[in-house]
C-alpha cells in the first residue's frame, strides 16, 4: 500500500473579499510577521504560559493525523515524520527531523528563529503536535537550541534540569533508561 504524501498545494485558501485565510481543513489562520510573533512568544514564555503555542501545535498535529485514517500508531515512522515535517514547514515553523538515540526519540527543529532564550516555544509547539499524533501526552524537552527529547510529561522537569546544568543530548539519553510506563 502506498504511503500518503503531504501535498502542500492548496493548503491555504485566500478569501480576498472576506479578508480570510483558511487552511485546507477550514481553520482560519492569520499571517503574522516573525518580528511580531517573536515578542509575543517571548512574553508568553516569560509568563510561563505557553498554552496558545501548544494549541497551535495540536492544530498542526491534527493536520498530520488527517492523512492517516487508521491512526499514526500502526504506521511506519518515516511517513509520520515526513508529514509532520511538511506540516510544520507549511506553517513556517522550521525544518523538522526525527532520530532515535537509543530508546529516546529526538526531534530536531532547524531554521526556526529564536523566539525565546530557553526554547520553550518550540518545545510547546512540538509537544502539542506529537501529543495529538501519538494520541497520548508527550513532552518535548529542549536539550539544546535545536534538539528536543520526547519524554513522559512526568519526568520533563527533571530532564529539563539536566539540560540547564549543561548536560548534552548524549548525556541526557545516557541518564534515561527503559522503565515502567
Amino acid at each position: 500500500m502506498a504511503q500518503p504524501t503531504f501535498d502542500p498545494t492548496g493548503f491555504y485558501e485566500f478569501d480576498l473579499q472576506g479578508g480570510h485565510v483558511r487552511t485546507r481543513g477550514g481553520a482560519r489562520v492569520m499571517v503574522l510577521s516573525e518580528s511580531v510573533v517573536g515578542p509575543l512568544v517571548a512574553l508568553a514564555a516569560q509568563n510561563e504560559d505557553l498554552t496558545a503555542i501548544r494549541k497551535l501545535g495540536q492544530l498542526i498535529g491534527q493536520h498530520v493525523l488527517d492523512a492517516f485514517p487508521q491512526g499514526a500508531g500502526p504506521q511506519a515512522p518515516e511517513p509520520i515524520a515526513a508529514h509532520a515535517a511538511a506540516a510544520l514547514a507549511v506553517f513556517g515553523w522550521g525544518q523538522l527531523t526525527l532520530s532515535r538515540w537509543g530508546d529516546a526519540l529526538v526531534a530536531q527543529l532547524d531554521e526556526l528563529p529564536t523566539l525565546d532564550d530557553e526554547h520553550w516555544a518550540a518545545a510547546a509547539l512540538l509537544g502539542g503536535m506529537f501529543s495529538v499524533i501519538a494520541d497520548r501526552p508527550v513532552a518535548c524537552v529542549p536539550a539544546d537550541a535545536t534538539h528536543f527529547v520526547m519524554v513522559d510529561p512526568s519526568i520533563a522537569q527533571e530532564v529539563w534540569s539536566w539540560s540547564r546544568t549543561g548536560a548534552t543530548l548524549a548525556h541526557i539519553v545516557e541518564r534515561l533508561q527503559r522503565g515502567e510506563s
Binding site: 491512526g71 499514526a72 500508531g73 500502526p74 504506521q75 511506519a76 515512522p77 509520520i80 527531523t97 532520530s99 532515535r100 538515540w101 537509543g102 530508546d103 529516546a104 526519540l105 506529537f130 499524533i133 501519538a134 497520548r136 508527550v138 527529547v149 520526547m150 519524554v151 513522559d152 519526568i155 527533571e158 530532564v159 548524549a170 539519553v173 545516557e174 541518564r175 534515561l176 533508561q177 527503559r178 522503565g179 515502567e180 510506563s181
Partner: protein
C-alpha cells in the same frame, strides 16, 4: 689443417684426457664443459680397441693441458641428450590466467539516519518498529537510579 692432422690432434687429446688425474680436472674452472663431438666419440671407441697408429712426435712433447671435460663414467658420457642430468624440477606454472580479484559483494548500506552515538547506544539489533512502538519506548524512559 688436413684431415689427418685433425685426427691426430684428436687422438692426442683423448689420450691426454684418459691419462690426466681427476685433481687436475678440478683445477680448471675456466674451461667450459662441452659434450664430446661424434668424432671424439668415434676416436674414443677406436682407442678402446688395440692401437693401430704410431704416436706422432707432437704428442710426447706437448705439455698436459687442462682437460676439456671432467672424466665421467662411460655410461654417463655416452648418455643421450634426452637423458641429460635433470635440474631441480620447478613448480609447474599454470599458463592459465590467474583468477582476478573477486569483487566483494558488499551488501548495500541502508542508512538508518542515526549517528554514531545512536548506533552504539542501541543494545538491540535494529528491528523495524512502528511509530507507536517508538513512542512507547521513548515515553517509557525514566531517570536511571543513582545517576547524576
Amino acid at each position: 689443417m688436413s684431415a689427418v692432422e685433425k685426427l691426430e690432434a684428436l687422438l692426442e687429446r683423448v689420450q691426454r684426457n684418459r691419462a690426466a688425474p681427476r685433481t687436475a680436472a678440478k683445477a680448471a674452472p675456466t674451461t667450459p664443459k662441452r659434450a664430446p663431438s661424434p668424432l671424439e666419440l668415434a676416436v674414443e671407441k677406436e682407442l678402446s680397441s688395440p692401437p693401430a697408429a704410431a704416436p706422432s712426435p707432437r704428442r710426447s712433447s706437448r705439455p698436459a693441458s687442462p682437460p676439456r671435460q671432467t672424466p665421467q663414467p662411460r655410461a654417463a658420457r655416452h648418455a643421450p641428450l634426452s637423458e641429460a642430468p635433470k635440474t631441480t624440477p620447478s613448480i609447474p606454472v599454470s599458463l592459465a590466467e590467474p583468477p582476478g580479484p573477486v569483487p566483494l559483494e558488499v551488501p548495500p548500506r541502508q542508512s538508518s539516519g542515526r549517528n554514531v552515538a545512536q548506533i552504539v547506544t542501541q543494545a538491540e539489533p535494529a528491528v523495524p518498529l512502528t511509530f507507536g512502538a517508538l513512542m512507547d519506548r521513548t515515553l517509557a524512559l525514566r531517570p536511571a537510579p543513582g545517576g547524576d
